[in-house]
């Protein structure tokens, strides 16, 4: 990051203050763990929430007179699983299209290959050719259940391409578990981006934005003694320096992730916030503007203790902010005295 960019970021951080109060049933007192573990935590939490939010998700695509309605038979899959995708083909005027031919292909996850840094990224993305084409005909009600299989080494981002009646669509296969890897964050970003109407659109939006921020962050980090970027594709056991299964060889913990201070702060904020709904939020600007937002729950009278906690938090945060600006001022003064 250039000096100009650093100064711009510092100015942005110092000219605004954000105070968030969250209500949660159970809290752990632990601080953010090592960044690799924190990335794993964030990816796992985002994936679980997306699987919950998009449990009954159905993709509807129309082209010309044909309409496709596609859905997976299960809410989530694991690498190596066999699955089914249900495709319903209909004509906008004539209704269900019995006997229509449907083609399904499995598209492996994208490959992030090392390249010369461009705009900070150290990898270039390429999409491998689809594999395992399956063709089936719809039954009388215009429905086809087409099998697909995932390979043991399939990474997050594996998708199913569906084609019928000249209409084509691509759906990411929902995965039961993901790691805090580059592939996982790209997968979460695309999945949240493609989410239709869901119960918590704000959460899908947060997952979409934060996932691409974390993917971009990983793309710019130099790997320990290698080319490309640090893809951070480690299981939890590997991060703990343990063998994957009993009897396997014990592995060394991966080297620390080379995060800049700014990136560490970004990750920390994302980790702290998780998928919790913010009950009360106050934004304070240097020009004196103060904006407070409350959810419906936060605006109720029963939340008076939370109001007190939030207002006291605003007081302490502004005090801390003033101290921070004072410290920088005294540093500048001591340089020129």
């Amino acid at each position: 990051m250039s000096v100009k960019e650093r100064i711009r970021l510092l100015a942005r951080d110092l000219t605004s203050l954000e105070i968030n109060t969250i209500r949660r049933g159970s809290i752990t007192g632990e601080s953010m763990p090592d960044p690799r573990h924190a990335l794993f935590d964030v990816a796992s939490e985002y994936n679980a929430e997306l699987n919950r939010l998009l449990r009954d998700d159905c993709r509807v695509v129309a082209g010309g007179r044909t309409e496709l309605r596609c859905r997976f038979s299960q809410p989530a899959y694991t690498a190596g699983d066999e699955g089914l995708v249900e495709v319903r083909v209909s004509d906008v005027e004539a209704g269900a299209q019995g006997g229509a031919a449907v083609v399904v292909r499995t598209c492996p996850a994208p490959v992030f290959a090392a390249t010369t840094a461009r705009g900070g990224a150290r990898v270039a993305r390429t999409d491998p050719a689809p594999r395992g084409q399956v063709q089936a005909a719809c039954d009388a009600s215009g429905v086809a259940n087409i099998p697909f299989s995932l390979a043991e080494d399939d990474l997050p981002g594996v998708a199913i391409e569906i084609e019928a009646g000249g209409v084509r669509t691509r759906m990411l296969v929902p995965l039961r578990k993901v790691r805090g890897s580059l592939h996982a964050f790209h997968y979460l970003n695309v999945r949240a981006n493609e989410a239709g109407d869901c119960a918590q659109p704000w959460l899908a939006r947060r997952i979409e934005l934060n996932s691409i921020r974390l993917a971009t962050l990983l793309e710019t980090i130099e790997p320990p003694g290698g080319k490309g970027c640090d893809q951070n594709d480690y299981s939890r056991r590997h991060l703990n320096g343990a063998a994957e299964r009993d009897g396997d060889e014990v592995r060394e913990k991966p080297a620390d992730l080379k995060l800049s201070t700014t990136d560490r702060v970004t990750l920390r904020k994302i980790w702290e916030l998780g998928c919790e709904e913010i009950l009360m939020q106050t934004l304070v600007q240097l020009d004196g503007d103060v904006v407070t937002r409350l959810t419906d729950d936060g605006a109720r009278e029963e939340a008076s203790t939370m109001h007190r906690l939030h207002s006291e938090g605003v007081r302490v945060a502004t005090q801390s902010w003033r101290h921070l600006v004072d410290s920088l001022g005294s540093f500048a003064r001591s340089l020129f005295q």
């Binding site: 109060t21 809290i27 904020k269 916030l273 006291e312 938090g313 302490v316 101290h323 001591s334 340089l335």
Partner: protein, 149 residues
């Protein structure tokens, strides 16, 4: 957490964390102050006024302690930078004036840094003594049911 600990935590993890728990160890409130001043507070729904008061008092103390140490460090850093500039200025200048400038710059840097280090050492000793004093008091308060508010 002492001021020194708070500052170390701020540098290492990117924030100060203050946690308030009940005697059974259940975490009731957790606040994190980010280095840029942003605050995130997570609380359980059944929070009492007393817990809020105690938590905010601790948070304020941590902020004050971190600020005091940060101010001293920042001032020391300013002097160190000024000294380094004077030293490099001396090294770049040939002849006697340059040498005198270098000695002057070095002297100006060393004296306040020494004073700062002694202050830090004394502050740390004082904090340790305070913590040792407060431990039996906290245990007594817990035994008397001071948490049940």
């Amino acid at each position: 957490m002492s001021g020194l600990g708070a500052l170390a935590s701020l540098a290492r993890l990117g924030g100060i964390t203050v946690v308030t728990a009940d005697p059974a160890g259940r975490v009731l409130v957790r606040s994190v102050i980010q280095p840029d001043g942003d605050l995130i507070t997570v609380a359980v729904p059944d929070l009492s006024e007393g817990t809020v008061e105690r938590h905010i008092a601790r948070l304020s103390r941590e902020v004050e302690a971190a600020h005091r140490l940060r101010r001293r460090l920042v001032q020391g850093l300013g002097v160190a930078v000024a000294g380094a500039v004077a030293l490099s200025g001396g090294a770049m200048t040939d002849g006697e004036p340059g040498t005198w400038m270098a000695w002057l710059g070095g002297g100006c840097t060393a004296a306040p840094c020494g004073v700062g280090l002694v202050t830090l050492w004394r502050a740390r000793r004082w904090l340790r003594a305070r913590r040792a004093e407060s431990r039996p008091r906290a245990a007594l308060e817990a035994a008397e049911g001071a948490w049940d508010d």
